[in-house]
Amino acid sequence: MYLKSTTALTVAALTLAATPSLAAEDLNALIWCDHADPKLLEPFEEAHGIRVNVKEYEGTAAGLALLEQSRPGDWDVMVIDGVDVGRLVERDLAEPLPVEEMHTGDYFPQIVLEDNNTVDGVTYGVTEKFGYNTIAYNKANVDPADMESMKALWSGKYDGRIAIYDYYLPVIGLVGMAQGVDTADLNADNLETLREPLMSLKAASRQVSDVVASQTSLATDEVDILVGGGEWLTAVLNADNPDLDWTIPEEGGLLWSQSLVVLKDSENKEMAVEFVKYVTSPEGQARLATSECYWGMPANSKTADVLSDDEKAVLRWDDQATYLERAQLYPVLDADLDSAMQDLWTDMIQN
């Protein structure tokens, strides 16, 4: 109790700033930046005569902290990393979803991701968008043939022209795949074997950067390759610089996915479910897929009927079957392995 009070005080400023103004006609959503696009929200708001209040967050830990320190009922829906839906369920924060009302029947089968969204047979989340953490590059400066294998990253040819996306899960996953370790097999023992290649990759790199800095660096020719990048990073830059491309090398790439969850304490569950249904509908999916913050593949395959040919070309719609075959899922980590991976990541940055 005492601890809870102390924690509450520590993050009071954060939560006070983040707590939405409550009104019966409001829907309050903890989101990633792609959901802040008015193009996505306005049709839902107009159709239901409701206002969607959004609060962006980055990183599941920050999202959980916001949620746990808010008053019950402050938030109705939450966007979360697909692999972290279980963390909401662990904390008894997620509401079961009426899966029969969702559009999952039209989903790419590989993207339903039941292991992520279902706990003990109950569905708590629904995948809404996915893509790949792989290799993004500037084909004006990099030979596309080199990018067919991750070996090129350690070859010395591109030293100083590489950036590493600052997210430990996909990049350690990619380094593992380059070393022949599947993401599903990552454990405390083989994690240490990845230290040396990870450190070598850092030595060959110019920077370790977040989304904005990565985009800026690629767009301004500061770097030519981004390890961990993908369509989500290059698609929004495509119109200005068609040379910015991405590929899944022969070793494979990581499939990222984001899920939408209705929160257990929501006081507006009916509308929250409506919002989930809207976002997973082909129309909502098309708007989310091409959000101004970042693009990504829609989970609903029927979105093909709504997207333009140009948009599908940028998303590589026709290549998805091959890509999905070669992609591995994010590792689902227990707390100890997660901590060990983050320690390794911090060591990499500091050395």
Partner: protein
């Protein structure tokens, strides 16, 4: 006696809002943070202390300890460079620029304060980039055969910081310089001191409170800054604020973030103790 009691009552009433404010928004949160720093994580749960594990880890884990070293190296470098640049600038504005133009000169000096800190950092990212104006100029005049890397290095972080803190220091030193009576300098020259000796032996010692005050403010703001190293440093090394953000945003490790914050505050307190003798805010 009654008047004294009345005055005391009025004094307490007047001070009470400030005290309550400090209590509510500094002392209580600070106490909570210190208490939390003695807790630890088990899996993804916070376990109450007292436990010194976080502090032991900060000083024994290479990556965490390096955060302290990196922060101190950057902060001291920035503080020294900023003082060396700001003192002559303040001197020129206070002593060489005609009175009627001083206000304009000061305004120009503090102009960077008027732009958003984040925007200014991103602007530096573009200026210092491979195809930025600095490299264009240096390669254009033939000083460099090809662009070198400044962006995403510690140098970029230092440049971004210095640009900001020179302005702050210029203000504090200028405020000190204009309060100096010209008689001190005249007396020194009457006694045979050269211009340089007058500056070195009279003016600089007399402006020390302004310099130390500005340097202390620079130290405090610089060591606690997250934005500049994050944008300009390229995440090639982590300062303490970056490590704190890492614990909060990614690991959800509030106890470790609290412990790092307490260590950061301890460093600032030590810096204050070291400067206290010269810190005269009323002179600024």
């Amino acid at each position: 006696m009654r008047i004294e009691a009345h005055e005391k009552k009025v004094g307490v009433t007047l001070v009470a809002p400030a005290l309550l404010w400090t209590l509510a928004f500094f002392l209580i949160p600070f106490a909570a943070m210190v208490w939390l720093s003695f807790s630890h994580m088990e899996g993804r749960d916070i376990v109450p202390g007292p436990d010194f594990g976080n502090y032991i880890k900060i000083f024994t884990d290479d990556s965490l300890f390096r955060g302290i070293v990196v922060s101190l190296e950057i902060t001291l470098t920035v503080t020294v460079i900023s003082v060396l640049l700001a003192w002559p600038l303040a001197w020129i504005i206070a002593m060489r620029v005609p009175k009627r133009w001083q206000r304009l000169a000061l305004m120009l000096a503090v102009l960077p304060f008027w732009t958003s800190y984040v925007v200014r950092s991103y602007a530096w990212a573009l200026v210092l980039g491979q195809k930025g104006v600095v490299m264009d100029f240096l390669t254009g005049i033939g000083l460099l055969a090809e662009p070198i890397q400044i962006m995403a290095t510690r140098s970029a972080t230092v440049i971004g910081f210095v640009h900001f803190f020179v302005m702050l220091l210029t203000l504090t030193i200028y405020a000190n310089l204009v309060q100096l009576s010209p008689n001190y300098m005249r007396a020194a020259q009457d006694l045979g001191a050269s211009a340089w000796q007058t500056i070195r032996l009279v003016v600089i010692p007399l402006t020390l409170p302004g310099v130390i005050t500005g340097a202390f403010l620079t130290f405090v703001l610089c060591i606690g800054d997250y934005i500049t190293p994050q944008i300009l440093g390229g995440n090639n090394e982590l300062t303490m604020p970056q490590l704190i953000m890492l614990q909060l945003g990614r690991r959800g490790d509030f106890p470790m973030a609290s412990a790092l914050s307490v260590v950061l505050m301890a460093i600032v307190t030590l810096a204050y103790a070291g400067c206290a003798r010269w810190l005269r805010m009323d002179r600024v």
